[in-house]
Structures are given as C-alpha cells and as structure tokens.
C-alpha cells in the first residue's frame, strides 16, 4: 500500500522569489499616468493626471521660519470592540501651535468614546458632516472603518478652526491628504481650501503612506525618490510637483484660479524635506501665500528635528499629543468590561462581546 509522505516544512523559497520578481517589475513599470485608488481620487472622475518622466525635480533651501506660526493637526483613534454589526470606538483630534522651534500651545479634544451600530454610525457621520457645514448628498450603503471616518472629520473641523485663527503667512499642517475621499465630500474640502486662500495661510497635508501610483502599479513616491537620487544625488532636499501646472506662468505664486475647475485647490507634490531624511513623502498644498519653493523651504526648516529628520516636527508633536497609547487602550477596555458587568451582563456575555476569537486562535 502506498502512503503519501507529507513534508514537515513546505518549501516556499520559489514562491518568495516569484513575489520579489513581481515587485521588481512593478517598480520598473513605466507610464505617465498618476493614479490613486478610487476612494481618494486626485481629480474628478474622467480627469486624468499625467506626469512626464522628466518632470522637474527642484532642489530647495531650508528656511528656519523665524516668527512663522505653525499649527499642526492630527487625530488618534482605535476600535476597541468590533462586533461586526456594532463597534465601540474611541477617537480624538488635536492641534498644537509651534513657533521659533518651540511648541507654545497644545489643545486636544476630550476622548470621544462611542458604541455604534451600522445605523448609528451613519447618523453620527451625518451629524459630523453637519458640524462641518456639509449636508450629506447621498445615502451611504456601508460605513466601513467608521472610527477613521469620524476622526478624519474631527480633524477637518480643527483645520477650519486653525485657519480662522491663523494670520496671513502662517502655516497649517495636517496629517494626511487634503483631497476629498469616499467619506470626505468635496463640499467639505473645497470651502476649507478657499478659506486658506482667503486668509493667505498655507495649508499643507503630509501623507506618510501614500497610495499614489505612477504608471500602472509603481508606487509614485518610491519611483520619484529613486529618480531624484539619480538626478540630484542622495544628499539633497527636493520636491516634484505632481498635479497643477508647474509650467504655468504663475506657478511660483499662489494659484488664483481653480486649477482643473473641480473646486478644490490643493496641489500634490512628492518631496524629501531633509538631506539626511530617510523618507520622501506625498505633500498636498493649498498655497495661501508662498511660492512652491518658499513653502518647501519652510517645510524643510521644520523638518530638522533629529528624532524625525525629514518630517515636519509639529506633526510629530501633535501625533504624540493625540495618539491613543497601548496603556490607555488597555485601561479603556478594562473600564468597559467592568462597566458591562455592573450593568448586569454576565462574564460569558462580556467575554463574547469583547473577545476577538482570532486572538484565541493565534494564541
């Protein structure tokens, strides 16, 4: 009788090699079209963003920004219980104010702590939009990642407040994109951009993990960075404008016109902000007062903190202010569990609600 011998260890080396080869081909993928996943488009449907392979990479200096007030906004969030049909979420947003290398004010929301069903979530989302002056224009079929959506809306609410508080020439920094998304309607974003232009405040979003791709599938930031290293060397600060018309006569000045006619005013760049910074980032900018080169010199001046080389320090600071650290989440889970027990839930029910069976399987 023949018995099949099972291997104790699967030989996956060939599959790993295949995957590496696939990634290499992706990175070498050519093309001029810049694209983003459909939930966060760079341009309205139908429009295409083209970026020539020889688009200019511009080196810039570093401006210490003496006397320039910088506001930075970020949010922190966590889903404490994911019951699939309901969630228990926590989030908050915050703003810090920074000038002349010192943070002089920190302002953070009280922790929002909510238990929501899918229906509740839609209502809360609609309420958050209303808070930002926007009426929901279509019914949502699903609201996935509800906590991220609510956090993001809280951040935009703070962006508006910061722009109103800022003086001409100040800078407002945001963690992430300045473009509309699936749950961030243009009707919310556009007035904020307009406010920045009216108040002559530069509004900048820095995206740490960009989903932009160039060509078919090549990650845009990685490809630009590799090109820049070849062209201007590894020891340089630079930026490349991806959207907007870099050849336009007024490109060095704040854009007065609605570029592309789609309402929102943010340009997309890829930039490396410190000569020894390990990363390049996608940077969105609504230039309220400065030219591109002036703006990126200012961002470079803010990105010299040795712990976060190449990343604007005020954003690093506000991230620490709003983040929900592990010990806080552990406290929240414990408090929630005790509160459930006090409400009369049995230990078994609480376990069922709070326990993620994946953890059991993975243990």
């Amino acid at each position: 009788m023949h018995r099949e011998v099972q291997l104790l260890v699967h030989d996956y080396a060939e599959r790993v090699r295949d995957a590496a080869g696939y990634l290499s081909r992706l990175l070498a993928d050519d093309g001029t079209r810049v694209d983003n996943p459909t939930d966060e488009r760079l341009a309205p449907e139908g429009d295409q963003i083209e970026l020539r392979p020889d688009a200019e990479i511009i080196e810039m200096g570093s401006d210490p920004g003496v006397g320039v007030t910088v506001a930075a906004i970020d949010g922190g969030s966590a889903c404490l219980v994911n019951g699939r049909s309901f969630w228990v979420i926590a989030y908050r947003a915050g703003t810090i104010w920074h000038r002349d290398r010192c943070t002089f004010n920190e302002d953070c929301d009280q922790l929002n702590f909510l238990a929501l069903t899918q229906s509740d979530a839609k209502a809360v989302y609609a309420d958050a939009l209303r808070r930002n002056g926007v009426v929901r224009d279509r019914e949502l079929s699903d609201l996935g990642g509800v906590v991220d959506v609510l956090r993001e809306l809280a951040e935009w609410h703070r962006v508006t407040a910061a722009l109103e508080q800022a003086a001409p020439g100040d800078l407002v920094l945001v963690d992430g994109s300045l473009h509309p998304g699936a749950f961030l309607p243009p009707s919310l974003v556009t007035p904020v951009h307009q406010l920045a232009l009216e108040r002559e405040v530069d509004l900048v979003g820095v995206t740490k993990a960009s989903k932009l791709r160039w060509g078919r599938y090549a990650p845009l930031v990685l490809r630009v960075r590799r090109r820049a290293e070849c062209e201007v060397g590894p020891d340089a600060r630079w930026f490349l404008q991806v959207t907007g018309d870099p050849e336009a006569p007024d490109a060095a000045d704040p854009p007065a016109e609605d570029i592309g006619g789609h309402g929102w005013r943010s340009e997309v760049y890829v930039a490396r902000l410190a000569r020894r910074g390990p990363y390049a980032f996608r940077v969105d900018a609504v230039r309220g007062r400065r030219s591109s080169e002036e703006l990126f010199a200012l961002l470079a001046g803010l990105s010299d903190d040795p712990a976060f080389l190449g990343y604007p320090y005020p954003l690093a600071r506000v991230h620490q202010v709003v983040a929900l650290p592990g010990h806080l989440l552990a406290d929240l889970r414990r408090d929630l569990r005790e509160a459930c027990l006090r409400q009369g839930l049995s230990e078994d029910d609480v376990d069922l609600v709070m326990r993620d069976y994946h953890l059991t399987l993975n243990a």
Partner: protein, 525 residues
C-alpha cells in the same frame, strides 16, 4: 507651589531607593540634599542624590540613540541642528537615597517607610536641617554641602569622640593637609580641652608649606597652645627634638623595620644580654658582629647579628638620638600633651623608618603614661585632656591587626579609647589598612578617592552606610568631604573650611588688659 525651589515629583521605588522625576533643565548634582514632602503624614523626607539619568517621553527604547544619530547625520551634512521642545520630550530621573525623615513632632527618624507617591521634591529649608545642628560637635571642620552648594550649617565632630579614632582618607591634592590644619586649628582653639600629637613628615603644617599658605604658626592660639619639636629647628620656630636611646624598645624597632623571626629573637637576646638603658643599642652599633657572636649572642647566626648591628648603627647615628637620658624631650612632649597643647613633631628631615621610630617611641610613651594614670590615679587621669595622635601615611604601620603584639599603633587603635587617646590615621590608601583596624575608627573624613578598592574598604567598614556613595566619593572635588561619625544621622557631605580663610575668623586669646594710666605713678618715687 513649594516655598523652596521645586525640583520634581516622587514616583517610587522603594524605601532605600527613591526615584523622582525632575525637569530636563534642572541641574541636579550627586550628593545634593533634597526634601520629599509627605503632607498626608506630615513627614519631611531628607534625600541625597546618588545618581541622575535622562528619561524621555518616547516609548521607543532606542529613541535617544536614534536622535543622537540624527544630530550626527545633520552635523555630517553641514547643517547642525538641535532637538525641539526638549523640555517637553526629555526629563531627568534622580535616584536618591532616603536619609530619614523628620516627623510631625520634629524628631529625626531613620528611613523605614516610603514617602508618599508623587510627593513634591524641593530644596531643604533651614527648618528641614535644623535637627542636624543639634548633632554637630565642637570640632567644626566645615559647612554642610549640598551638591555644589554650601549650606550655612556647621559640620563637626564632638571632641569627646576623638579617642574613638579618626581616619582621613584622600588621594593627593584633595585637601588632606588643609583638613588636618583645620582639625589641628580647632584643637588649638579648644583652650586645652583636647591635645594633639601631630607628626609632620612634609614640613607643611607649621608654616603652611608654600607661598600664600598659612600654617599652625599663624593660628591666633599658636603662641599659647602650639609646641613644635624638630631635629633641625630654625631659631625661634621650634625646640630641638632629642630622644634617648634608653627609651627605645625592641617594639619600636620592630615597628620601624620588618624583622624576620630569627632577627626578632636575636633582637630580644641583645636587649636582654647587652645591657639596659640603651647600652644594648650602643654596643650593637659600636662592636663588631663577630665579637658579639663570640660573646653574648653566640646562639644567633652571624648574618642575623650583622643586620641588627647595621640597623643599630643607623639609629645611634641619628642626630636626634642621645645616649644621655637626661637630654630626652619625651617627658616634655608628654607634659605639653597633658597640658592640652598641640605638639607638632617635624619629621621632614627623617627617612621613613626613622620617622616611624620617632612616632612609635612618642606614641608608646604617651599610651603608657595614660595607661599608668588610668590604673593608678583615676582622678589625675580624669583631668588629662583627650588626646589625638595624628600620623601620615598610616598604612605603613596599620597593615595588620596582629602586629598589635609589638606595634603601638594597632594597639592604640584597639585600646586607646579606654585611655582617652585616639589615633588619627591619614592615608591615601585605606585599602592597605587592616579592615578590622579600620572598623575601630568611629570617624571618617573621606575626601576624593580615585581607587575603587579604597572606596570599597571604606564602604564596608564605615559606621554609616556609604554603599550608594561610591560615585560621589569618586567625584569629590578638593576640599569636599564626607564625614561619618556615630553622632551624625548619615554621612554628611561637607565643604571643609579653607584654613587660610578660616583662621581669620578664629577668636584669639584675650589680650592682656592695658595698665591704667598712672597705675605705677609714685611706685618708684
């Protein structure tokens, strides 16, 4: 907010190892004295900083290394930078040893409980340290030191504790001589309550030892209370030191030189067979070894006798030794000490063994005199001042407790207390002193010591716990000291008075009252 400068908040950790967080910009020093407030219990805990480290708000353990790397990368790029918001991102963590606490009733207690968590840490107020002033003695040597600051609180030891022995430990340049001058100066100013026999191998104590320095000769009480003996006295400065051969004992010789077993036996034979009152030494020095072997010392090897003769010749030829017992000044020295004076014996012209020989003879004579008084005349003994014998390079004669059989210094360390005679051992190398002998010393003046082995032996033998103070002892600056004494509640950080400045503050004896005008008028008429 605290009445006194705020330093931080306590966050743990155990009764004897308290930690507090301080602001990044707070300049904390090893040895700094601070107070932790436990307002719930009404206690004020006294702390001593034993170590300081940086803490950061980052949860990344390698944050500091990474940030330093970032700074270096920017330096390398020619764009030197600095971290932003340092006060928000960094802080200091001070490790402090709890010295004890003052309870609501105002009494000092040893540390047996934890101060309140998150209690406020401040600089001590005068009231916090008031309990210390009650425990300071009349032999003041400096002011309390808190880190690099000086607190206006005298630090001293009680003169009554001098017979419990004193150790002065420091490497060169740390202020031993200055401390000894201050200590001697205090005994000079004590108006006869205490006496001091001080051997000066470097000739620095009398005149100060260098330009701009002041010595005991400049002390306001020098004329009344200082007596100086020297083998080579300068006119008007000192008396000629003369010691009699008859006073030298076999034990003095064995203290000064190392004799083998056969040599010690031969020495005893010579002492017994060649004549008393120093004649044996003279004969050893003057007669041929072969003749002595043929006569009284026949049972000893010739080479052994030759060694004895050579050493005897060296002694007899010393200018300060005399064969005439009536010229000896030993009795005068003892009288001065009995009178509560500071006796300075200048041994700077002598070699080490000769110096030891002189010190041994005088110390043994003193101890025997006090022991005799103790046994025969308690009333007289009670009137004698407590006396300290100060010896430099003391490790030479305090290596082994077993030597007490013949060596007067270990014997003094072991028995002197009973006879109100103490030993002040000054040394750079306490590690060479027998640990059991060191444990006889109740008072330590510890100045800067570079050698860990030296610090280790002091930590293990001190009357106060010095276990956490290794780094502080290592970093003591010249003139800074730790004082341990059974009277003190803890090892006292001290800034020793600078002798030259201090003597200007010492009140001298009252000058004789001027004769009233016309007092003698008509007397001679």
């Amino acid at each position: 907010m605290a009445d006194h400068p705020y330093k931080g908040r306590i966050f743990g950790r155990s009764v004897l190892d308290v930690r507090f967080r301080a602001f990044y910009g707070e300049d904390l020093f090893l040895g700094e004295l601070l107070v932790g407030d436990d307002s719930d219990k009404g206690r004020r805990y006294l702390f001593r900083v034993t170590d300081v480290a940086y803490g950061s708000e980052s949860s990344d353990e390698s944050w500091a290394e990474r940030t330093a790397g970032g700074l270096m990368a920017m330096d390398d790029a020619g764009e030197s930078t600095a971290a932003r918001d340092l006060e928000r991102r960094l802080y200091k963590v001070a490790k402090v040893s709890s010295l004890g606490y003052v309870g609501p009733e105002g009494h000092f207690h040893k540390p047996k409980s934890l101060p309140g968590q998150f209690g406020m840490v401040t600089e001590p107020s005068d009231a916090d340290l008031a309990f210390l002033s009650e425990r300071m003695g009349d032999i003041e040597i400096g002011r309390l030191r808190s880190g690099e600051d000086t607190v206006d609180l005298p630090v001293g030891i009680r003169g009554e504790t001098l017979p419990s022995h004193v150790g002065v430990f420091a490497t060169t340049g740390m202020g031993k001589s200055n401390l000894m001058k201050v200590l001697s100066g205090q005994i000079l100013a004590a108006a006869g309550r205490y006496a001091l026999l001080l051997f000066d191998p470097h000739g620095e104590y009398l005149s100060g030892g260098g330009p701009g320095r002041r010595g005991l000769a400049h002390h306001p009480w020098a004329q009344q209370r200082l007596r100086v003996y020297s083998p080579n006295p300068k006119a008007g400065e000192a008396s000629l030191l003369r010691l009699s051969l008859a006073e030298l004992s076999v034990d003095d010789l064995r203290t000064a030189w190392k004799f083998s077993g056969p040599q010690s036996e031969a020495l005893e034979s010579a002492r017994a067979l060649l004549g008393d009152k120093g004649i044996w030494l003279q004969r050893l020095a003057e007669e041929e070894p072969e003749d002595l072997k043929d006569a009284e010392l026949g049972r000893h090897a010739l080479a052994t006798i030759q060694v004895l003769c050579r050493r005897a010749r060296r002694i007899v030829q010393l200018p300060l030794m005399t064969s005439d017992p009536s010229q000896s000044l030993t009795g005068k020295v003892l009288d001065d000490l009995a009178d509560g004076k500071v006796v300075l014996v200048d041994t700077s012209g002598l070699e080490a063994v000769e110096e030891t020989l002189v010190a041994s003879l005088l110390t043994r004579s003193l101890l025997e005199e006090r022991a005799t008084a103790y046994r025969t005349d308690r009333e007289h003994f009670g009137r004698l001042p407590r006396t300290l014998v100060a010896l430099e390079e003391a490790q030479r004669v305090l290596t082994r407790l077993d030597d007490a059989e013949f060596n007067v210094f270990p014997r003094l360390a072991r028995e002197g207390r009973k006879f109100n005679v103490g030993l002040c051992a000054v040394t750079q190398q306490p590690k060479l002193i027998d640990a059991e002998l060191l444990s006889q010393f109740n008072t330590y003046f510890v100045l800067g010591l570079a050698d860990e082995r030296d610090r280790q032996i002091l930590r293990s033998s001190s009357k106060q716990d010095l276990s956490d103070l290794g780094p502080e002892i290592q970093t003591l600056m010249p003139g800074e000291a730790l004082v341990t004494n059974p009277e003190a509640p803890f090892a006292l950080p001290t800034r020793v008075h600078l002798y030259e400045e201090w003597i200007t503050t010492v009140a001298g004896p009252e000058p004789a009252k001027a004769r009233p005008d016309g007092a003698l008028r008509g007397f001679y008429d």
